[in-house]
Symmetry: C2
Subunit: 212 residues, 2 copies
């Protein structure tokens, strides 16, 4: 179980070893995610993406050597954001319940904030990714699920009541609740992010541990 | 609130008015969903779909007049299955809690059964659908959400305790839990469908109503 360390390795293309190149690759990933989101992975060409980024096609290939690899980099970037915006912030929290609470709040924030919405969507439509790249992304997702399972098991232990649901199913239940937000949540809608976080936390912990 | 009637209208193309034509269109939808799932909506051509179905391209166009309309028919078919396999079966259940239980069990069954998996996936990737067709599908989805909200509100009333979560958020929580199953559930995996149904029902009703 990975608990306080960032999850999975960060794989950047050979061109992205300097901080500047890495920053540029992230910008490309954000813009490319939007293009893939709008046109579909198969419908978008490297030419479309180069134009959206404001690079020549050769300029784009300098940063990322194929469309496959670009999709892989976008997904890695999505997992990097999870590490950096959510997991890094909770790593020093000792209390399991508070750590799980803050992980859920951070993950909800990641899914609903508009800036990264396209990346979240692309991250979960990973059918276009093949072979070793697909395995690598799935391993990073799996590490996150195992982190949640471990944390849930500790929360159950700490509660002193006998477990009512397996940590495995509870982890997928909360992931479903959170990740499904992108299907229906609108920043301009009647429900605020704080209302969702608060309601989902209460709902989840009641479902997990019981009590009114 | 729609409660016992099928949700939304069934829109079939002009060619599908006889039972035979309707049956053929459904077969085309099932096969086309698989092709879209594998190649992406933008990556799959009507020629690819015609070949997979075993029709000439002209034969395929006889049943469905465009790729847009085919996608729309697949999504309508997905919602028809929900009406026929889930909602029709619970329509005579009077007790709100039992009706909600059976709706959840039926919806889980729909998502995890392999036969319709591609249709479920396509149904939730509706960015490729535009204009009036998109509105029509969204209206059918919304009618289902309103049905769930109404049922949840009745379960809360019946329970006699003060509501702990809005029916709106509870409906999206359970939809997220169920619809996310396609991301991780494998028929050959260690967790059975019955275990998921049972654990998710307990988890959901505890989250909704409290108590251990």
């Amino acid at each position: 179980m990975i608990d306080s360390a960032p999850i999975g390795g960060k794989v950047l293309s050979a061109m992205a070893r300097t901080p500047e190149a890495r920053q540029k690759l992230r910008e490309i990933c954000r813009i490319a995610a939007r293009v893939f989101y709008e046109k579909g992975y198969d419908g978008a060409s490297m030419q479309d993406i180069a134009e959206a980024v404001g690079l020549t096609k050769a300029g784009l290939y300098h940063h990322v050597s194929s469309k496959d690899l670009l999709l892989f980099e976008i997904m890695n970037y999505g997992m990097d954001i999870l590490d950096e915006s959510v997991l890094a912030k909770v790593k020093d929290i000792a209390d399991p319940r508070e750590k799980l609470r803050q992980t859920i709040i951070g993950h909800i924030d990641l899914v609903v904030r508009a800036r990264d919405m396209e990346i979240t969507v692309i991250l979960h439509e990973n059918r276009s990714l093949k072979g070793a790249m697909r395995k690598k992304i799935n391993a990073r997702k799996k590490a996150y699920i195992q982190y949640l399972e471990g944390l849930i098991a500790r929360v159950q232990e700490q509660s002193g009541v006998s477990p009512k649901v397996s940590p495995h199913l509870a982890a997928f239940a909360v992931l479903g609740m959170i990740n499904w937000l992108y299907q229906w949540y609108h920043v301009e809608g009647p429900v605020t992010q704080e209302e969702i976080s608060s309601a989902y936390l209460d709902f989840f912990f009641r479902g997990l541990l019981g009590s009114g």
